[in-house]
């Protein structure tokens, strides 16, 4: 499938991603933040599709937007947000935080301007048709051990979350 209007979709989706990022960190109401984050995640799934990574895009939607965000919304509903909205939204060291983040951004700019030659201008076109199969082969072949560790991590996370959230076990 030949991509259609790549620049337009790229700017559209990455603009959406960044806009939602800005909204996430500026909204007072966490629910609105979460909504913005969902939008951003979906836009990012679109970017993955443009990068010929359909499987990652699918996982992004199903896990991130479908799973993790529901968890977030659940928690937001359970804790009292009425009060936290009236409070001060930013902490005392916000200036330091922004400065250091700005420094980080400066570093990025430096790296990408100096090192732009490192990245080939023309992107290779990996075959899209069996992307899932290839990812699967890598996951269950070369990265088998990491994969198993990841599943162990998830198990630990499940137990940890239950222990944390449950008062009496």
């Amino acid at each position: 499938m030949e991509p259609v209007a790549t620049p337009f979709f790229f700017y559209f989706l990455s603009g959406l991603t960044l806009l939602s990022g800005v909204l996430v960190i500026t909204r007072k109401n966490p629910v609105h933040s979460a909504l913005a984050l969902i939008l951003g995640l979906l836009a990012q799934a679109g970017l993955y599709l443009m990068l010929y990574a359909p499987f990652v895009a699918g996982v992004q939607i199903i896990l991130y937007a479908g799973g993790i965000m529901v968890l977030f919304l659940f928690v937001i509903m359970l804790v009292n947000i009425e009060r936290s909205q009236k409070e001060e939204q930013f902490n005392k060291q916000w200036l330091v935080g922004i400065l250091s983040a700005g420094a980080l951004g400066g570093l990025f700019v430096l790296v990408y301007t100096k090192g732009s030659g490192l990245f080939p201008a023309v992107m290779s076109l990996p075959v899209e048709n069996n992307n899932t199969q290839q990812v699967g082969e890598l996951l269950y072949g070369q990265y088998m051990f990491a994969f198993e560790i990841a599943s162990l991590l998830l198990l630990v996370a499940i137990i940890g979350a239950v222990v944390m959230a449950k008062k009496r076990i």
Binding site: T17, I25, L41, Q44, Y52, V56, F90, N91, M123, L139
Partner: protein, 101 residues
Amino acid sequence: MVPITTLHYLVTAAALFVLGVIGVLTRRNVVIVLMSIELILNAVNLNLVAFSRLWGLHGQVFAIFVITDAAAEAAVGLGILIAFFRNKETINVDEVDLLKW
């Protein structure tokens, strides 16, 4: 129009990363801090997938691992948040100033 290269994606990811860092460093609400961490992880993912266009699918595999990690992190983080809220009736990070209560 300039053709879209890897660098474009990297710049987007970098900007997203910086946004996430700002969120983590300046917000008080734990939920939003956690969401900012998700932003950071997503920026990393975008980078990984963009690189996988150049150097094979390993980047995508790593992106999947990162997503798994994010799920685990969110679950535990939100679990801690609930335990915290139950004890302190607040969800502000700068009020988490005790190691034990």
